[in-house]
C-alpha cells in the first residue's frame, strides 16, 4: 500500500515536471542564432520584442511583441505571428532588414518560453572592455 502511494506520487511529480515551463529573456545576436529554436521538435516559440513604430515610420519609442514563426534566409524575410494583424494566428511576412532595425532598438530582446527539461544555453562571445563605437555599429560589424 505504501509502495503504491509512493509510485503514484512519483508519477504525479513526473507529470508535473513535464508541464513545468521556464521563461528566459535573451539578447540574441541575430535572427540566425534563433535557428536552434525553430529546428527543435516541437519548435520553441520565441517572442520578439521590437519597436514597430520605428519599423513602420522611422520614429522611435514604440514596442510590440510577435511570435517568430520562421525565418527565410534566402529571401531575407521573417515570418511572424502578429496578434495585431487581421490574419490572427497565421504568419505574416516582414522584410528582415526593416524588422531588424526595430528589433535592435530593444537590444534584440527575445523571450523564450520552454519546458524546463530543454536548457537554453547562452553562448557568449568576447567584447572589448572600452567601447570605441556605438552599439549599433558594433552589432553591424559583428554580423558581417
Amino acid at each position: 500500500m505504501k509502495l503504491g502511494t509512493e509510485t503514484l506520487d512519483g508519477a504525479q511529480s513526473k507529470v508535473h515536471a513535464a508541464f513545468q515551463i521556464a521563461i528566459d529573456a535573451v539578447a540574441a545576436k541575430s535572427l540566425d542564432t534563433l535557428d536552434g529554436l525553430l529546428r527543435n521538435h516541437p519548435p520553441i516559440p520565441a517572442i520578439l520584442i521590437f519597436d514597430r513604430t520605428f519599423m513602420l515610420t522611422g520614429d522611435t519609442e514604440g514596442s510590440h511583441a510577435v511570435l517568430l514563426h520562421s525565418y527565410d534566409r534566402k529571401h531575407e524575410r521573417v515570418d511572424v505571428i502578429d496578434p495585431s494583424l487581421p490574419l490572427r494566428g497565421r504568419p505574416s511576412a516582414y522584410v528582415k532588414a526593416e524588422f531588424e532595425g526595430g528589433w535592435r532598438l530593444l537590444q534584440n530582446l527575445t523571450i523564450i518560453v520552454h519546458p524546463v527539461d530543454i536548457d537554453i544555453k547562452s553562448q557568449t562571445t568576447s567584447i572589448a572592455a572600452v567601447k570605441s563605437e556605438s552599439l549599433l555599429d558594433y552589432i553591424e560589424a559583428n554580423e558581417r
Binding site: 535573451v26 540574441a28 527539461d117 537554453i120 553562448q123 567584447i127
Partner: protein
Amino acid sequence: MTTIAIEEIQSPEAFVMCRLARRIGVNIRPGEAVYDKERLLWKVPLRAVVTSQVAPKDRPSKRFVYDFKNIAEALVEQDGDQYHMRHFPNAEFLEDYLVREFDTLTEKIENVILSYDNEVWGQFTYVRTFLRPVYDIVTNALTERKLSLDFIEQTGKHSGHYVQMLLDMGLLEIDENQPRQVRASNELTRLHERVYRFDTKFDVFNVASAVAGRIFSSQYRRIRNEFKIYSPTAYVDATKAYYLDAVRMGERIPMTEKELYQKFRIVGHRNPYESKNFKFKTIISEVVGGKLLERDADDNVIGSKSIFDKVMPFQDEIVKAAPEI
C-alpha cells in the same frame, strides 16, 4: 536533456535590457553605457518611455510619448565576457520616481483644476466619505456654540490636523478663556450666511461641504501624501488626465469614458476605488456635475472652456515632455 545554444549580444546595454525584461518591463529602457575607469564599472542610465494615444472620432489618432531620461542608473561589472549586476534599482524605486516626475510635469495643470472652484470638491462622494471629520467639526461648530478639542479628537484619525487647518484658514478660533475649546469664527459665520442666502434649503451640511472643498483644494497634496487618503484624488486625476491630452492636442477633444479610464490609469498610476454601485462612470458623472468637465451631444466627455483656457499656457511644456511620434 536537450540543450539549445543561443549566441547573445555582449554589451552592458543588452545585459541590462534582459534584466529589465525579466524584472520591470520594456517601458524602462537602457541608454548608452559609459565606462567608469575609476570604479571599473559600466554605468548604464535608464530611461522611461510612456506612450499615450489620443483617438478623436472624426480625425486620425495621434500617438505621443512621455520620455523621462536618466531616471536611474544600473551598474554592471565586466569579468572577461561575463557581466555581473552590481546595482539595479528595484521596481518600487522606479515607480516612485516616475510618479514624482509625472506629478512635477502636471503640477501646474493640477493647481488650475484644484483652484478653479475650490468649494465644489466638498460635493463629491469620496471627499464626503474620507474627509468626514471635517464635516463633523464644522456642523458641530455651527450648531453648538463651543466645541471641545477632546471631543473632536475622538471623531477621526486626522481630526486634530483638520482642526489645525481650519484654525490656520481662520474658520475656527480658540476660545480665550478655555484653550481646549474652539468656536466658529466670523468668517465661518459669514460663509454660513452666504450659503443660506444662495441655497434653497437651509442646511449646515452645505456649509461643511464648502469648507471641506476648500480644505481639499488647498491641502490636496498633504491629504494625499501625508494622510495617505487616495480615493478622493480620483476626481483630480481623472480631470487632469483629460486636460493633459486636451492641452497636448491644443483643443477640447471629445473623449469616451472608456478612453478616459485608460488615461486615468496612466496619470493616476492605479485603478480607481470602485464598488458595486460606484464605478469610474460615477466619478466622471460627479466631475461633470461639478462643472469641471462637460458632456457633448454624443455623451462624450469634453473639457470646460474656462478651465481649458487657463491650462492652455502650459502647452509648450507638455509638448516638449511628450513629443508626437
